[in-house]
């Protein structure tokens, strides 16, 4: 484990929140895309 000194909470907090936000937007984008693709395929398959 690398040494973070007395700022461990600060550094880990910053990385944690940022990664959470990034994963959030990535997840939201992926889900929205999957949904749009599914709906479009369903529709095109029918018509």
């Amino acid at each position: 484990m690398i040494e973070l000194g007395k700022y461990a909470g600060t550094v880990l907090g910053a990385y944690g929140i940022s990664l959470l936000l990034l994963l959030g937007i990535v997840g939201q984008s992926l889900r929205a895309n999957a949904r749009a693709r599914r709906e479009l395929e369903e529709h095109e398959g029918r018509g």
Binding site: I2, E3, L4, G5, K6, Y7, A8, T10, V11, G13, A14, Y15, I17, S18, L21, L22, G24, I25, V26, Q28, S29, L30, A32, N33, A36, R37, E39, L40, H43, E44, G47
Partner: protein, 241 residues
Amino acid sequence: MSIWEYANPVKFMRASGAVLPWVAGGAVVCCVAGLAWGFLTPQDYRQGATVKIIFLHVPAALMAINGWLMMLVMSLIWLVRRHHVSALAAKAAAPVGAVMTLIALITGAIWGQPMWGTWWEWDPRLTSFLILFLFYLGYIALWAAVEDADSAADLTGVLCLVGSVFALLSRYAVNFWNQGLHQGASLSVAPGERMSAVYKYPLYLSMLGFFLLFLALVLLRTRTEIRRRRLAALLARENRA
């Protein structure tokens, strides 16, 4: 063969579909490598371990500004040449840019707490980013509020132009305002300011990573928007028939 060929949604879908896995893969590799490398850098003699936050803060800030610039270019292309893909790309970029701005603000606050002794300082840079975030929010809200797709694209395009001018104006106004309060506050975290190579190369790598990540997300979200638009068009045609 010109770049305008990709304004055709079908061509754009084909090309972006081919490119997207590579961009996304590159984004993941560069982000993980850059951030891990940054995380393993030695501590700064003055800032201690908090120097590691720069590998998140600076790339996010960079993409926050570049994201708005991209939206501006896309809005201009839409307003002048009426290519739907570019309007949708501007719409797709806004939430990503807003998240980048938020990351830059939050990491800045977390870094500022032990360094400056305060979570928030009304420093020109911080304040301008807050204002930029507000502009992103307004832009996203306007897209969400207007029902007709073409009207929404037009209105947000005009808003983006006006907003760009005022974001820039606010940047200089805020500079002026803070100088008026306390002279010579030395809170600058300018990148590359006497930065040693130990920090420079991981920073470049994570900047590249964030750039690729931004690109991948915008491509993905633009594809989503195009699919949604196509679905809406199909439904409208069926309703008419």
